[in-house]
Symmetry: C2
Subunit: 166 residues, 2 copies
Amino acid sequence: MTETGRVRAVEASGLLADSIRASGLKVTGPRLAVLRVLDQAPHSTAERLYATVRAELPGTSLQAVYGVLAAFTGAGIARKIEPAGSPALFERRVGDNHHHIVCTRCSAVHDVDCAVGESPCLTPSNTSGFTVQTAEVTYWGLCPDCQTSTLTALSTPAPLSNEGAQ
Amino acid sequence: MTETGRVRAVEASGLLADSIRASGLKVTGPRLAVLRVLDQAPHSTAERLYATVRAELPGTSLQAVYGVLAAFTGAGIARKIEPAGSPALFERRVGDNHHHIVCTRCSAVHDVDCAVGESPCLTPSNTSGFTVQTAEVTYWGLCPDCQTSTLTALSTPAPLSNEGAQ
DNA sequence: CAGTTGTTTTGAATTACTCAAAACAATTGG
DNA sequence: CCAATTGTTTTGAGTAATTCAAAACAACTG
Protein backbone atom coordinates (compact mmCIF):
# COMPACT_ATOMS: atom_id res chain seq x y z
CA MET A 1 0.00 0.00 0.00
CA THR A 2 1.17 3.50 -0.82
CA GLU A 3 1.51 6.45 1.55
CA THR A 4 -1.96 7.56 0.54
CA GLY A 5 -4.41 6.94 3.31
CA ARG A 6 -5.29 8.11 6.76
CA VAL A 7 -3.84 11.48 7.76
CA ARG A 8 -1.10 11.05 10.35
CA ALA A 9 -2.11 12.23 13.84
CA VAL A 10 0.87 14.57 13.92
CA GLU A 11 -0.50 16.46 10.97
CA ALA A 12 -4.16 16.53 11.94
CA SER A 13 -3.34 19.57 14.05
CA GLY A 14 -1.10 22.42 12.95
CA LEU A 15 -1.40 25.63 11.01
CA LEU A 16 -1.90 24.02 7.64
CA ALA A 17 -4.60 21.71 8.93
CA ASP A 18 -6.27 24.58 10.74
CA SER A 19 -6.34 26.65 7.61
CA ILE A 20 -7.98 23.82 5.70
CA ARG A 21 -10.48 23.01 8.42
CA ALA A 22 -11.32 26.67 8.94
CA SER A 23 -12.40 26.93 5.35
CA GLY A 24 -14.87 24.11 5.78
CA LEU A 25 -12.87 21.42 4.02
CA LYS A 26 -11.83 18.03 5.34
CA VAL A 27 -8.20 17.67 6.23
CA THR A 28 -6.53 15.04 4.07
CA GLY A 29 -3.03 13.98 3.16
CA PRO A 30 -3.05 15.40 -0.36
CA ARG A 31 -4.46 18.69 0.90
CA LEU A 32 -1.85 19.08 3.59
CA ALA A 33 0.89 18.22 1.14
CA VAL A 34 -0.35 20.60 -1.56
CA LEU A 35 -0.78 23.42 0.92
CA ARG A 36 2.70 22.91 2.34
CA VAL A 37 4.32 22.91 -1.08
CA LEU A 38 2.29 25.93 -2.14
CA ASP A 39 3.68 27.74 0.86
CA GLN A 40 7.25 26.89 -0.03
CA ALA A 41 6.89 27.46 -3.76
CA PRO A 42 4.25 30.04 -4.63
CA HIS A 43 3.34 30.47 -8.31
CA SER A 44 3.61 26.77 -8.98
CA THR A 45 1.74 24.92 -11.71
CA ALA A 46 -0.48 21.94 -10.89
CA GLU A 47 2.10 19.73 -12.55
CA ARG A 48 4.93 21.11 -10.48
CA LEU A 49 2.95 20.77 -7.26
CA TYR A 50 2.16 17.23 -8.26
CA ALA A 51 5.81 16.40 -8.79
CA THR A 52 6.77 17.75 -5.37
CA VAL A 53 3.78 16.33 -3.54
CA ARG A 54 4.51 12.89 -4.94
CA ALA A 55 7.88 12.93 -3.28
CA GLU A 56 6.29 13.03 0.14
CA LEU A 57 3.00 11.29 -0.63
CA PRO A 58 3.69 8.90 -3.50
CA GLY A 59 0.15 7.64 -3.99
CA THR A 60 -1.15 11.07 -4.97
CA SER A 61 -2.59 11.47 -8.44
CA LEU A 62 -2.44 14.50 -10.67
CA GLN A 63 -6.21 14.66 -10.69
CA ALA A 64 -6.18 14.79 -6.92
CA VAL A 65 -3.92 17.82 -7.13
CA TYR A 66 -6.32 19.48 -9.54
CA GLY A 67 -9.14 18.57 -7.19
CA VAL A 68 -7.35 19.97 -4.17
CA LEU A 69 -6.56 23.18 -6.00
CA ALA A 70 -10.16 23.57 -7.13
CA ALA A 71 -11.31 23.04 -3.54
CA PHE A 72 -8.75 25.53 -2.23
CA THR A 73 -9.57 28.24 -4.72
CA GLY A 74 -13.29 27.63 -4.21
CA ALA A 75 -12.86 27.91 -0.46
CA GLY A 76 -10.74 31.02 -0.83
CA ILE A 77 -7.52 29.72 0.69
CA ALA A 78 -5.62 29.70 -2.59
CA ARG A 79 -5.65 31.82 -5.69
CA LYS A 80 -5.26 30.82 -9.28
CA ILE A 81 -3.51 33.08 -11.75
CA GLU A 82 -3.31 32.50 -15.47
CA PRO A 83 -0.65 34.57 -17.20
CA ALA A 84 -0.82 34.50 -20.99
CA GLY A 85 1.08 31.60 -22.47
CA SER A 86 1.48 29.83 -19.16
CA PRO A 87 -0.40 27.04 -17.47
CA ALA A 88 -2.30 28.18 -14.38
CA LEU A 89 -0.24 29.11 -11.33
CA PHE A 90 -1.33 28.92 -7.72
CA GLU A 91 -0.48 30.84 -4.60
CA ARG A 92 -1.60 31.00 -0.97
CA ARG A 93 -1.52 34.75 -0.76
CA VAL A 94 -5.17 35.71 -1.06
CA GLY A 95 -7.44 38.51 0.05
CA ASP A 96 -5.21 41.38 -0.90
CA ASN A 97 -5.58 41.92 -4.63
CA HIS A 98 -1.92 41.99 -5.39
CA HIS A 99 -0.50 41.73 -8.87
CA HIS A 100 2.27 39.90 -10.66
CA ILE A 101 5.31 40.52 -12.74
CA VAL A 102 6.33 37.84 -15.19
CA CYS A 103 9.71 37.46 -16.86
CA THR A 104 9.25 37.37 -20.62
CA ARG A 105 12.33 35.21 -20.97
CA CYS A 106 12.23 32.59 -18.19
CA SER A 107 8.65 33.00 -16.96
CA ALA A 108 9.68 33.64 -13.38
CA VAL A 109 6.85 35.26 -11.45
CA HIS A 110 6.98 37.67 -8.52
CA ASP A 111 4.33 39.40 -6.50
CA VAL A 112 3.77 43.10 -6.93
CA ASP A 113 1.77 45.11 -4.47
CA CYS A 114 -0.97 47.20 -5.98
CA ALA A 115 0.68 50.16 -7.64
CA VAL A 116 -1.23 53.11 -6.30
CA GLY A 117 -3.25 52.23 -3.23
CA GLU A 118 -6.28 50.96 -5.06
CA SER A 119 -8.02 53.65 -6.95
CA PRO A 120 -6.30 54.62 -10.19
CA CYS A 121 -5.61 51.19 -11.55
CA LEU A 122 -9.02 49.94 -10.50
CA THR A 123 -10.84 52.74 -12.21
CA PRO A 124 -10.85 52.47 -15.97
CA SER A 125 -11.73 55.57 -17.95
CA ASN A 126 -14.47 54.21 -20.17
CA THR A 127 -16.28 51.20 -18.78
CA SER A 128 -18.76 50.91 -21.67
CA GLY A 129 -21.47 50.35 -19.11
CA PHE A 130 -19.69 47.46 -17.41
CA THR A 131 -19.78 47.16 -13.64
CA VAL A 132 -16.17 46.67 -12.59
CA GLN A 133 -15.61 44.00 -9.95
CA THR A 134 -11.84 43.51 -10.03
CA ALA A 135 -8.78 44.75 -11.86
CA GLU A 136 -6.03 42.32 -12.59
CA VAL A 137 -2.62 43.69 -13.49
CA THR A 138 0.18 41.70 -15.03
CA TYR A 139 3.52 43.33 -15.60
CA TRP A 140 5.88 41.84 -18.14
CA GLY A 141 9.62 42.41 -18.15
CA LEU A 142 12.98 40.86 -17.47
CA CYS A 143 13.90 39.38 -14.13
CA PRO A 144 17.29 40.29 -12.64
CA ASP A 145 18.91 37.04 -13.83
CA CYS A 146 17.67 37.38 -17.38
CA GLN A 147 18.75 41.02 -17.55
CA THR A 148 22.36 40.00 -17.07
CA SER A 149 22.24 36.82 -19.13
CA THR A 150 20.61 38.75 -21.98
CA LEU A 151 23.56 41.10 -22.11
CA THR A 152 25.85 38.09 -22.20
CA ALA A 153 23.87 37.03 -25.24
CA LEU A 154 25.23 33.51 -25.58
CA SER A 155 23.15 31.68 -23.00
CA THR A 156 20.41 29.09 -23.01
CA PRO A 157 16.89 29.56 -24.31
CA ALA A 158 14.12 28.94 -21.77
CA PRO A 159 10.91 30.51 -23.00
CA LEU A 160 7.65 29.85 -21.18
CA SER A 161 8.54 26.81 -19.15
CA ASN A 162 7.87 27.09 -15.47
CA GLU A 163 11.49 26.28 -14.64
CA GLY A 164 12.93 28.78 -12.31
CA ALA A 165 9.57 30.33 -11.64
CA GLN A 166 8.97 31.23 -8.04
CA MET B 1 -11.40 23.24 -56.69
CA THR B 2 -12.32 25.34 -53.68
CA GLU B 3 -12.17 29.10 -53.38
CA THR B 4 -8.69 28.77 -51.95
CA GLY B 5 -6.15 29.87 -54.45
CA ARG B 6 -4.91 32.92 -56.23
CA VAL B 7 -5.87 36.23 -54.65
CA ARG B 8 -8.46 38.01 -56.74
CA ALA B 9 -7.11 41.08 -58.54
CA VAL B 10 -9.82 43.21 -56.93
CA GLU B 11 -8.42 42.44 -53.52
CA ALA B 12 -4.73 42.66 -54.29
CA SER B 13 -5.05 46.40 -53.74
CA GLY B 14 -7.00 48.00 -50.93
CA LEU B 15 -6.46 48.97 -47.35
CA LEU B 16 -6.35 45.46 -45.99
CA ALA B 17 -3.86 44.30 -48.60
CA ASP B 18 -1.76 47.39 -48.01
CA SER B 19 -1.64 46.75 -44.31
CA ILE B 20 -0.48 43.20 -44.88
CA ARG B 21 2.08 44.14 -47.49
CA ALA B 22 3.35 47.05 -45.43
CA SER B 23 4.24 44.68 -42.64
CA GLY B 24 6.41 42.60 -44.96
CA LEU B 25 3.99 39.72 -45.45
CA LYS B 26 2.66 38.31 -48.67
CA VAL B 27 -0.94 39.09 -49.47
CA THR B 28 -3.03 35.93 -49.63
CA GLY B 29 -6.69 34.99 -49.57
CA PRO B 30 -6.75 33.65 -46.03
CA ARG B 31 -4.87 36.70 -44.75
CA LEU B 32 -7.24 39.16 -46.38
CA ALA B 33 -10.21 37.22 -45.09
CA VAL B 34 -8.91 36.96 -41.53
CA LEU B 35 -7.98 40.62 -41.45
CA ARG B 36 -11.38 41.65 -42.72
CA VAL B 37 -13.22 39.55 -40.17
CA LEU B 38 -10.93 40.76 -37.40
CA ASP B 39 -11.89 44.26 -38.33
CA GLN B 40 -15.59 43.51 -38.13
CA ALA B 41 -15.41 41.36 -35.01
CA PRO B 42 -12.56 42.30 -32.71
CA HIS B 43 -11.84 39.99 -29.75
CA SER B 44 -12.59 36.89 -31.77
CA THR B 45 -11.13 33.47 -31.11
CA ALA B 46 -9.23 31.56 -33.80
CA GLU B 47 -12.15 29.17 -34.01
CA ARG B 48 -14.66 31.96 -34.50
CA LEU B 49 -12.53 33.63 -37.14
CA TYR B 50 -12.21 30.28 -38.84
CA ALA B 51 -15.97 29.81 -38.92
CA THR B 52 -16.53 33.22 -40.46
CA VAL B 53 -13.62 33.06 -42.86
CA ARG B 54 -14.83 29.70 -44.15
CA ALA B 55 -18.07 31.32 -45.24
CA GLU B 56 -16.25 33.50 -47.72
CA LEU B 57 -13.24 31.30 -48.44
CA PRO B 58 -14.40 27.70 -47.97
CA GLY B 59 -11.06 25.99 -48.56
CA THR B 60 -9.43 27.64 -45.56
CA SER B 61 -8.20 25.38 -42.80
CA LEU B 62 -8.15 26.09 -39.10
CA GLN B 63 -4.39 25.70 -39.08
CA ALA B 64 -4.16 28.35 -41.76
CA VAL B 65 -6.06 30.70 -39.48
CA TYR B 66 -3.63 29.96 -36.65
CA GLY B 67 -0.78 30.52 -39.08
CA VAL B 68 -2.20 33.81 -40.28
CA LEU B 69 -2.74 35.00 -36.73
CA ALA B 70 0.81 34.05 -35.76
CA ALA B 71 2.12 35.94 -38.78
CA PHE B 72 -0.03 38.97 -37.96
CA THR B 73 0.93 39.14 -34.31
CA GLY B 74 4.56 38.55 -35.21
CA ALA B 75 4.43 41.37 -37.75
CA GLY B 76 2.66 43.64 -35.30
CA ILE B 77 -0.58 44.15 -37.22
CA ALA B 78 -2.68 42.16 -34.76
CA ARG B 79 -2.61 41.59 -31.06
CA LYS B 80 -3.35 38.48 -29.10
CA ILE B 81 -4.97 38.64 -25.69
CA GLU B 82 -5.46 35.73 -23.36
CA PRO B 83 -7.96 36.39 -20.59
CA ALA B 84 -8.01 33.74 -17.87
CA GLY B 85 -10.33 30.88 -18.69
CA SER B 86 -10.76 31.92 -22.30
CA PRO B 87 -9.14 30.80 -25.52
CA ALA B 88 -6.93 33.47 -27.07
CA LEU B 89 -8.66 36.48 -28.60
CA PHE B 90 -7.37 38.66 -31.39
CA GLU B 91 -7.79 42.28 -32.36
CA ARG B 92 -6.41 44.71 -34.94
CA ARG B 93 -6.05 47.59 -32.54
CA VAL B 94 -2.35 47.62 -31.80
CA GLY B 95 0.29 50.12 -30.81
CA ASP B 96 -1.62 51.85 -28.07
CA ASN B 97 -1.44 49.68 -25.00
CA HIS B 98 -5.11 49.66 -24.25
CA HIS B 99 -6.73 47.28 -21.83
CA HIS B 100 -9.80 45.07 -21.65
CA ILE B 101 -12.86 44.50 -19.58
CA VAL B 102 -14.33 41.02 -19.58
CA CYS B 103 -17.83 40.05 -18.47
CA THR B 104 -17.60 37.35 -15.81
CA ARG B 105 -20.92 35.97 -16.91
CA CYS B 106 -20.99 35.94 -20.70
CA SER B 107 -17.31 36.63 -21.48
CA ALA B 108 -18.06 39.64 -23.63
CA VAL B 109 -14.94 41.76 -24.06
CA HIS B 110 -14.61 45.51 -24.54
CA ASP B 111 -11.65 47.81 -24.96
CA VAL B 112 -10.69 50.13 -22.15
CA ASP B 113 -8.31 53.00 -22.67
CA CYS B 114 -5.44 53.16 -20.25
CA ALA B 115 -6.82 54.43 -16.98
CA VAL B 116 -4.50 57.28 -16.08
CA GLY B 117 -2.46 58.48 -19.03
CA GLU B 118 0.23 55.86 -18.73
CA SER B 119 2.27 56.28 -15.63
CA PRO B 120 0.55 55.04 -12.52
CA CYS B 121 -0.62 51.68 -13.77
CA LEU B 122 2.67 51.09 -15.50
CA THR B 123 4.71 51.72 -12.41
CA PRO B 124 4.48 48.96 -9.86
CA SER B 125 5.65 49.75 -6.34
CA ASN B 126 8.11 46.92 -5.80
CA THR B 127 9.59 45.49 -8.97
CA SER B 128 11.90 43.01 -7.20
CA GLY B 129 14.62 44.03 -9.61
CA PHE B 130 12.57 43.32 -12.70
CA THR B 131 12.78 45.65 -15.69
CA VAL B 132 9.18 46.45 -16.58
CA GLN B 133 8.39 46.38 -20.30
CA THR B 134 4.61 46.43 -20.34
CA ALA B 135 1.65 46.45 -17.99
CA GLU B 136 -1.41 44.51 -18.95
CA VAL B 137 -4.66 45.30 -17.19
CA THR B 138 -7.75 43.14 -17.30
CA TYR B 139 -10.91 44.35 -15.65
CA TRP B 140 -13.57 41.85 -14.71
CA GLY B 141 -17.20 42.73 -14.17
CA LEU B 142 -20.68 42.51 -15.60
CA CYS B 143 -21.59 43.84 -19.01
CA PRO B 144 -24.75 45.93 -19.34
CA ASP B 145 -26.81 42.98 -20.61
CA CYS B 146 -25.74 40.67 -17.82
CA GLN B 147 -26.38 43.31 -15.17
CA THR B 148 -30.05 43.36 -16.07
CA SER B 149 -30.45 39.64 -16.72
CA THR B 150 -28.76 38.89 -13.40
CA LEU B 151 -31.39 40.88 -11.58
CA THR B 152 -34.05 38.97 -13.46
CA ALA B 153 -32.34 35.87 -12.07
CA LEU B 154 -34.13 33.29 -14.18
CA SER B 155 -32.15 33.50 -17.38
CA THR B 156 -29.77 31.26 -19.28
CA PRO B 157 -26.28 30.26 -18.16
CA ALA B 158 -23.49 31.12 -20.57
CA PRO B 159 -20.17 31.03 -18.72
CA LEU B 160 -16.93 31.37 -20.62
CA SER B 161 -18.11 30.66 -24.11
CA ASN B 162 -17.23 33.26 -26.67
CA GLU B 163 -20.85 33.72 -27.62
CA GLY B 164 -21.81 37.33 -27.60
CA ALA B 165 -18.23 38.40 -27.17
CA GLN B 166 -17.32 41.40 -29.18
C1' DC C 1 6.64 33.91 -67.10
C1' DA C 2 9.98 30.92 -64.54
C1' DG C 3 12.23 30.57 -60.08
C1' DT C 4 12.41 31.30 -55.33
C1' DT C 5 10.51 31.98 -51.13
C1' DG C 6 6.91 31.92 -48.23
C1' DT C 7 2.13 30.08 -47.24
C1' DT C 8 -1.42 26.70 -46.80
C1' DT C 9 -3.15 22.09 -46.53
C1' DT C 10 -3.33 17.71 -44.53
C1' DG C 11 -2.65 14.80 -40.89
C1' DA C 12 -1.02 13.96 -36.48
C1' DA C 13 0.54 15.07 -31.81
C1' DT C 14 0.65 17.57 -27.51
C1' DT C 15 -0.49 20.24 -23.38
C1' DA C 16 -3.39 21.43 -19.80
C1' DC C 17 -7.27 20.34 -18.07
C1' DT C 18 -12.11 18.20 -17.08
C1' DC C 19 -15.48 14.50 -16.31
C1' DA C 20 -17.41 10.27 -14.16
C1' DA C 21 -17.70 6.07 -11.58
C1' DA C 22 -16.04 3.36 -8.01
C1' DA C 23 -12.99 2.88 -3.98
C1' DC C 24 -11.88 4.92 0.04
C1' DA C 25 -11.14 8.06 4.18
C1' DA C 26 -12.52 12.05 7.36
C1' DT C 27 -15.90 13.68 10.26
C1' DT C 28 -20.57 13.09 13.00
C1' DG C 29 -23.19 11.31 16.37
C1' DG C 30 -24.58 7.31 18.74
C1' DC D 1 -14.72 3.89 19.96
C1' DC D 2 -17.45 2.27 16.09
C1' DA D 3 -20.87 2.83 12.34
C1' DA D 4 -23.01 5.83 9.06
C1' DT D 5 -22.66 9.65 6.18
C1' DT D 6 -20.50 12.72 3.46
C1' DG D 7 -16.84 14.23 1.02
C1' DT D 8 -12.35 13.04 -1.30
C1' DT D 9 -9.24 10.46 -4.13
C1' DT D 10 -8.13 7.12 -7.57
C1' DT D 11 -8.53 5.25 -11.99
C1' DG D 12 -9.56 5.67 -16.56
C1' DA D 13 -11.12 8.23 -20.22
C1' DG D 14 -12.17 12.39 -22.86
C1' DT D 15 -11.82 17.23 -24.54
C1' DA D 16 -10.41 21.94 -26.07
C1' DA D 17 -7.02 24.72 -27.84
C1' DT D 18 -3.04 24.77 -29.86
C1' DT D 19 1.36 23.20 -32.13
C1' DC D 20 4.30 20.55 -35.28
C1' DA D 21 5.88 18.66 -39.84
C1' DA D 22 5.90 17.36 -44.62
C1' DA D 23 4.19 18.06 -49.02
C1' DA D 24 1.42 20.83 -52.20
C1' DC D 25 0.82 25.19 -53.70
C1' DA D 26 0.68 30.33 -54.62
C1' DA D 27 2.74 35.14 -54.28
C1' DC D 28 6.31 38.13 -55.36
C1' DT D 29 11.10 38.92 -57.93
C1' DG D 30 13.65 39.67 -61.92
